[in-house]
Amino acid sequence: MGKYLNKVFLIYWKDIRDEVRSFDNLLSTILFGVMLIFIFSFAFQLADLDVEQAFSAILWVSIFFSSVLAIQRSFAKEEENNVLDGLLLGTGDRGSIFLAKFLCNLTILLIFEAVITPLLWIFIGASGVKASLGLLVPALFLGSWGLAAIGTMLNGMTVQLPAARLLFPILLFPLMVPVLVAVIQCTAAAFAAPGESVAAWLYFLASFDLLFVIVPLLLFDYILEG
């Protein structure tokens, strides 16, 4: 078990170092997210709509769209010089590659959210509104977990179909609908007056997340067959 986790950690650490060294990739994802929240909040203001009410919607639409950029890189970078074959030979186990890639994507998404969430909060002019961080942080974490898990699995497939890169969001978004419903409830509740309990939604998210780490682990042998 310890050996397995060590393997996962080594691949994870390799990917994180790669992200740090090619920082412009992460940066362009973050910039894309910033552009999205800017356009959304500005458009809402221009149309004279209540932008505070739309906070959770804007936040998660931006995260969903940007996650496509963030996650699509995770296997694509292994294509050069057949690194993926090397990884397979080195680990001899596909599950650990999935876990490492998933954790890396989760980390990237969390860093991304740490930047755009406060920014959106400022953009919509809700500085007076108190947010319950105890609810917002778990919602962001569990939502990103789901995105990273399903996204990593699907990216393992689409990266092997060079003609079908555009399919990635088309495959991803329908599967993410339960997460979308749940995280919007939780995020909205974090800004509402305390009272309405969303604990059930958090449990739902947690079970979804667990399920969609186990299912890809079982299926990943079939995805990276080559």
Binding site: M153, Q160, L171, F173, P174, V177, L219, I223
Partner: protein, 222 residues
Amino acid sequence: MESPWRKLSCLALMILLPVNIFLIFIYAPVEKTMGIVQKVFYFHIASAWIGLLAFVLVFIASILYLRKREAALNRLALASAEIGTVFITCTLLTGPLWAYPIWNTWWTWDPRLTTTLVLWFMYLAYIALQSGGETENRQRFAAIYGIVAFINVPLVFFSARWWRSIHPLVITSEGMGLTAKMRVALFASLITFSLLYVYLLQLRYRSLSLKERVNELKSKLT
């Protein structure tokens, strides 16, 4: 390679389809408050049923494909997915036809409607994944997607229902008090549509097999 089953189901359909039309439009009474528009319900429910049934078949065939790797299983899954898409499209089109006069809106985010729409999206994604080159990879990935999407369907339904139960329902239950004659018509529709599905599935399966064979012969020639 003429299959006797296809001929048999074709013959049965030639009898059942007109009988079904008769049961729906003449035998079953016109609904008192909704009027003639209620007739769409018999087509609507039956195509939704086929949409779900076809998805179950995609799921089963996908699991078997991953285990056995027979192209025939993939053809079965793909044929089922394509027909399922057609029927789900019918469901999504007939629904608003009924909803607009009765609910006074074309669309509402009711759990059933939401799930049907998401199911439609997943069908389209599945078919998109299957079309194009690199056949072996695509078939394998489509099988995986077919399994994951099937697991996802109940989750979509429960999340949407849960959300609606927290918020007040704009539209309460459909309140379908069916008379005995209506139930007969509905039952007949379900049987007829199921048979239609079986028939179309055989046709599509055959055309996919022939297509594969043509490709094989072509590659032999060049």
